[in-house]
Symmetry: C2
Subunit: 306 residues, 2 copies
Amino acid sequence: MLAGGVGAARFLRGLHSLLEPRQLTIIGNTGDDDTFFGLHVSPDLDTVTYTLAGRVGERFGWGVRGDTFACLSALGRYYKESWFQLGDRDLATHIFRTDALRRGESLSSVTSQIAQRHGLRSTLLPMTDDSVRTVVHVAGRGALPFQHYLVKGRGRGRVQRVELKGVHRARPALGVLTAIRQADIVLLPPSNPIVSIGPILGLVGVRDALRKTGARVAAVSPIVRGAPIKGPAHRLLRGLGHEVSPFGVANLYRDFVDLFVLDRRDATHASRIEGLGMRTLVTDTIMSTPAKSRALAAAVLQEVEA
Amino acid sequence: MLAGGVGAARFLRGLHSLLEPRQLTIIGNTGDDDTFFGLHVSPDLDTVTYTLAGRVGERFGWGVRGDTFACLSALGRYYKESWFQLGDRDLATHIFRTDALRRGESLSSVTSQIAQRHGLRSTLLPMTDDSVRTVVHVAGRGALPFQHYLVKGRGRGRVQRVELKGVHRARPALGVLTAIRQADIVLLPPSNPIVSIGPILGLVGVRDALRKTGARVAAVSPIVRGAPIKGPAHRLLRGLGHEVSPFGVANLYRDFVDLFVLDRRDATHASRIEGLGMRTLVTDTIMSTPAKSRALAAAVLQEVEA
């Protein structure tokens, strides 16, 4: 599975109970990574880890459930900006990651250790050990590092361009291409196609591996009735000239997806999507409860294997 | 004032209300500094800052009052050793310090910023911007970094040797020698003479500046009736062949102290100490309440100016 943050985590919440955990490899986006207070934060990787550990914050779908914010509050004494919400327990992960990276360990190695310490039995790989940083160019506001755009700027404004800094020099982390080539199924959860899945697809060799893999490849639309469940995917799609619809998303994946999953509310899009050369599954895709996550994952697995 | 940790802070608690804060410069020991979880911790500097800010933990005399330990608890997931008690609010200071040092700022600059953000109007200087690390050699246990010796090892065991790694190459921080030379009074609070005051005295030029300054120099004995109020000063003195008494401490300062302050319980030591060529003040030195801290500081100020 390729994974962004919350959309991927919601899907994983359902998927992981349907599989032997060791069968699952998750390739996490790191384009959203950033440095806060000198600490290396990998929001998408951590959201996956905390979710699989059963420890993710329920309300927002990120962070550690029941976390407190005493350290962040005290950091406000030293820093002008403390808008990125880092809880006390969550901070331990960033402190450990930063410490390990400074000692020369790779992000892959640190990510694997963090996953293990949280009891994960699935494999979690960062998409790359190299630096890729997503920068969103917004009309009148300039180039915003992704978290500034998303969290501080609340994803507002007209998107002119998305830059994936470093993506052309970055190599997929060890295991990423092999996982895609050797998988039975590759899943793209309802993550943002531009800033969550986009950076992974932008890495040298990934798109090609997806085209050539013997795996069935299924993608779930993050767009339902013209808008994402969460986040600014509609603004990003529109800003880059894509249709804000399941078709718009499917079109971005047309060269490698076998099965495209869209919501019942968008059933009328199915035939256009099939025109791109992929099968479709029309079902309930809004994962508002764990049971709905499981039902969606089960439907996707069943259909993609059909 | 030269300063170690808790003994110095107890004295400062009394002293600072007797002076115009801007008249006071504190030179803090950094030989106790260490790195935990990749974060640069300066225990003595922070104890001084939190004390002067009225924010120090009352019970132990260090840390932030009312602090919580959620992050430390979560760090236990990643690290085998989490015996050094770092509270959530306290961690913010270490995160900021580490971030600033990594960006190339000096410890002096960071220390000054931390002090300012806590509202201090006195000047707090680290003794040096260079690395000095106190290592205690303990029989049967080898060379222990100071915090390992003090906190993890609880200051136990027979001390064979104290090593101040880097002290011969370290330069006093900008302002340290000038403060000593230009002061009216230099105070040595009841800090550990070996591991709190010792590293400061060991820096090139400091002892010489103390000998030559026009300031009156007063020191308060940290030893009362053969033992320190807190900490392992007795074991350190004994291990290095010094007498565990006010005389033993005074003897370490014999070349530059004008007034030596000792507790009433040790009044019989006064004449021997005067034999070292210094005046003595016999008074209550145990600062179990803020009022007692103030009374001691007032008595020392009055006598040293006499």
